[in-house]
């Protein structure tokens, strides 16, 4: 064993090579060349340089690989727009004229896949809305669902079969009459053809429901009908709807379409405050609490409750989204079992069944919704919740909607008010409020777990409207018509008989002081105990 010579193990003193760097370099090259000729071996010192050189070459190669790989990952994270063919012309010009839409498009998956402006906007010969745009290119301003169906056929079919697609068919509805007659004004020519639509309908109703787009000369679009991205827009090519209702152009982000506010563009306000109810519900509360966390994954094609996220489903999650067992659907009504829109709620398949139109039964729709619920809730919970929901709808229907509707219809059929015009009598507004505003708020509140909308914004106001406005106004109508005598008086008697029957029914007799003594006593006792509890 050799003796240790140095005390300091780190005392590394490399032997200084002889000669300058240049001389050493020349020496290595010379040795290398001589060895190649077979004249001598390469010295260890030169081999050291060769090893260092090879190691540096290898290291630089790795650095290049790392740099390119890093770049590729950046591209994956921030993909770049691919501008192909004719689209280059569009982008070149529009990034100066309308830079916003070009930027939106550059952020879209469309641009990353090379789908550009002309791919969607190109018009074929014979298209009603063809515009000779620029440099011989024919385009259509409107990209209809039919245009989108070239790539998104399944979504197009589901959407076309949905209730959303029928949103534009509101002509003749009470809402439409309000916008065109009561709130706004429409002009007709001598043949009864509309010459100018109601400004209220154009800027109000139709922006959600969708207009029937009219094409003027040269492919220009009638300002009474467009701009419009209503959900049931009737397009020049005959297709219904507008994909950009929810998938805002031109970035068509899935995450954005899943935001509750997207649905809230239309599903809000006094007549159907879905967005407000959702925000009141625990679903909405947990979504707001987690939306930052969700923001990235919401862009995924599938965003499955219980798998990709654990709380805070949005409207799209329950009504459209994929679950572990269900596929994504663009038929938004396909999981809804009640139709809460009309004065008296009915099961959603009732209208189609009455007309013998084959449709998905309400039981199957409910079953699908329950599959969604099962992502987070137990079957027992779901069953009980549906029980609560059904009971509220039944209560609304039987206590207020059906009696009020029957009384209202009888009043009109007996001509006790002007029956050929709606909304010229106070009671018509009262009845409209009853089911269209308060009644829907109560029902939608129950359907989406918004207790305050069910109670104070809902059933409380339904009751207030029914007992304090509708019944007194009905009594006025009866009294007024009784005084007129003849057929009107006879009609008034029939209406009064119907009213008395309603008021004497078990649910309403309290209002005319006919509560049973037992119930009266029990309520009084409860009241006193309550007062005692709160020392009132």
């Amino acid at each position: 064993m050799p003796p240790r010579k140095k005390k300091d193990p780190f005392d590394i003193k490399p032997v200084k090579p002889e000669g300058s760097v240049k001389d050493r370099f020349i020496k290595v090259i010379k040795e290398f060349a001589d060895a190649f000729k077979g004249e001598q071996e390469i010295s260890l010192n030169s081999k050291k340089v060769i090893i260092a050189f090879l190691s540096v070459v290898f290291f630089i190669s790795l650095l290049i690989v790392a740099w390119i790989e890093g770049g590729r990952k950046r591209v994956l994270q921030y993909p770049e727009a691919v501008v192909t063919g004719t689209n280059k012309e569009c982008v070149n010009c529009h990034q100066n004229t309308t830079p916003g839409i070009v930027k939106q498009w550059k952020e879209s998956k469309h641009s990353h896949s090379g789908i550009g402006c002309f791919d969607c906007h190109q018009a074929k010969d014979g298209d009603k809305d063809l515009i000779a745009h620029y440099n011989g290119l024919n385009i259509s301003t409107i990209v209809s669902p039919k245009d989108c169906s070239v790539c998104h056929e399944k979504q197009f079919q589901e959407y076309t079969n949905s209730h959303h697609a029928q949103g534009g068919a509101i002509l003749g509805s009470l809402d439409n009459e309000l916008a065109e007659v009561v709130e706004g004004h429409v002009t007709f020519d001598a043949n009864g053809v509309k010459t100018k639509n109601s400004a209220v309908a154009v800027s109000g109703c139709l922006q959600c429901h969708g207009s029937e787009v009219k094409v003027l000369e040269g492919g220009r679009l009638d300002p009474d009908t467009w701009p419009n991205t209503g959900i049931g827009r009737i397009n020049p090519d005959g297709s219904k709807g507008s994909c950009s209702s929810c998938h805002l152009r031109h970035n068509f982000s899935i995450a954005q379409a899943r935001q509750p506010e997207v649905c809230g563009k239309c599903h809000m306000g006094p007549d159907h405050p879905h967005l407000e109810i959702y925000m009141e519900s625990k679903h909405g509360i947990s979504f707001v609490a987690n939306r930052e966390k969700f923001s990235k994954e919401m862009e995924n094609l599938k965003w499955i409750p219980g798998v990709d996220f654990e709380s805070g489903p949005t409207c799209a999650t329950c009504h459209m989204g994929a679950t572990r067992d269900l596929e994504i659907t663009h038929d938004v009504g396909s999981r809804i079992s009640w139709n809460l829109r009309p004065p008296i709620s009915e099961k959603i398949d009732a209208a189609d069944k009455a007309k013998n139109i084959p449709t998905k039964s309400w039981q199957d729709r409910r079953k699908d919704m329950q599959v969604v619920c099962e992502s987070c809730h137990s079957p027992g919970w779901i069953g009980n919740w549906y029980n609560q929901y059904d009971n509220l709808i039944d209560t609304y229907n039987e206590k207020f909607a059906r009696p009020a509707t029957e009384l209202y219809n009888l009043m009109r059929s007996e001509n006790l008010i002007t029956s050929d015009t709606t909304f010229d009598d106070e009671i018509e507004f009262t009845y409209f409020y009853l089911w269209h505003h308060e009644g829907r708020r109560a029902r939608h509140g129950a359907s989406m777990m918004g207790p305050d909308y069910t109670q104070w914004h809902g059933m409380f106001e339904v009751a207030d409207n029914f007992y304090q406005k509708f019944i007194p106004q009905l009594r006025e109508v009866i009294a007024r018509n009784r005084a007129m005598g003849g057929a009107r008086a006879e009609g008034a008697e029939r209406l009064n008989a119907k009213l008395q029957a309603v008021l004497n029914s078990p649910m309403h007799k309290w209002f005319i002081g006919k509560q049973s003594p037992q119930e009266k006593a029990a309520r009084q006792k409860e009241r006193q105990e309550f007062k005692k509890r709160y020392v009132q």
Binding site: K6, P9, I42, I51, L54, S61
Partner: protein
């Protein structure tokens, strides 16, 4: 009875053996870290074992949960991202340092008699290191690891005679399934590391038995040596500390990420392996599956048997430096194929 006596009775090893072992003379050139690259992969392998065990606590080798468990490790588990990034970077460093070690051994001719067998053991260690890297990448179960596994299965299938058996054994049938993932897990976490450890023991033992090749750069350092402990041990500890700093730096600046979850129904636009298989992938692309398998097989056997091929060459011409030229050409070829594949991937995006 003193403790020493008590202990010696029960563990009858001569303390002189340890003394001799610890004071084994180390050639003077090993004072420089660049000659110590053989120890670097061994140290990195220890890092792999420690981080690998920690990752195994949270990793779930199931097709349904593998990706999510890796995501959980990366995003939720305390220091999970750090441990995973250390595991990833030490794997990459390990492969790079093995290649650098091999370059040094090859160019200096350290594999020559009597160290031929140790070179062969080293070649197997290199291949096992690559296989551990590959099987580890498969476990993430992201799109590229899934489809990389599919390509590897197809490559195995093209191995003459035993290809289909090999492929179906690895994949358990035609498609990638739960059983493929389980096999990859067992290979990565049990079989291959055990082989690696066994071969490492043989590699180090042979190194000690045969002695470290001594380089004399000039007369001044001729026959100069220093003891293994503590001198060389300190050098290795310094290297280990520097490597730990470097790994931590890489883990913090370039943490291990995650791409999309494996989807058997969607083939990604561009399938690519990890960088250390770029050269194989390039050969596969410029030839065919069968040709690539044959070329890779032949390259492995040439590498394995190089000491004997070199001896034949030396016999023909005493002063031949053919091995140096071939070594240089091989390194350039490896770098060129790697860069070619890398640029091809870059241009295809």
């Amino acid at each position: 009875m003193s403790f020493k006596k008590w202990f010696n009775e029960r563990v009858p090893i001569d303390p002189e053996f340890f003394k001799a072992f610890s004071s084994e003379p180390v050639p003077d050139h090993l004072r420089h870290w660049w000659w110590c690259l053989g120890g670097t992969p061994m140290y990195l392998f220890m890092v792999q074992i420690v981080t690998g065990i920690l990752l195994a606590i949270y990793y779930i080798p199931s097709v349904d949960h593998a990706y999510d468990s890796v995501k959980n490790i990366t995003e939720n588990v305390n220091f999970g991202w750090y441990i995973r990034s250390m595991h990833k970077w030490s794997a990459n460093f390990m492969i790079a340092s093995v290649i650098l070690h091999m370059i040094r051994v090859f160019i200096t001719g350290s594999y020559r008699k009597p160290r031929e067998v140790n070179w062969m053991v080293g070649t197997f260690l290199f291949v096992i290191t690559l296989l551990i890297g590959f099987s580890g990448y498969s476990l993430i179960y992201e799109q590229l690891s899934y489809w990389g596994l599919t390509v590897a299965g197809n490559l195995l299938n093209a191995v003459p005679l035993i290809g289909s058996v090999l492929s179906s054994f690895i994949k358990d049938g035609d498609a990638i399934s739960q059983f493929t993932l389980s096999r990859m897990y067992v290979f990565h976490a049990a079989i291959l590391p055990v082989f690696l450890i066994l071969l490492l023991v043989v590699h180090v033992a042979l190194m000690h038995l045969l002695g470290i090749t001594t380089f004399f750069f000039n007369e001044k350092t001729r026959r100069k040596t220093f003891p293994f402990i503590p001198d060389h041990l300190f050098t290795e500890i310094i290297i280990a500390i520097v490597l730990m700093i470097l790994l931590t730096f890489m883990a913090i600046v370039f943490p291990a990420g995650l791409e999309e979850k494996a989807n058997p129904l969607i083939t990604p636009a561009h399938i690519k392996p990890e960088w250390y298989f770029y050269f194989t992938f390039r050969i596969l692309k410029i030839t065919s599956i069968s040709a690539a398998v044959l070329i890779m097989g032949a390259a492995f056997f040439v590498l394995l048997l190089w000491p004997f091929i070199d001896a034949k060459l030396l016999k023909k011409k005493k002063t031949s430096e053919a091995s140096t030229y071939i070594g240089i050409a091989a390194v350039f070829l490896l770098c060129a194929l790697t860069l070619w594949e890398c640029f091809a991937l870059f241009l295809s995006h």
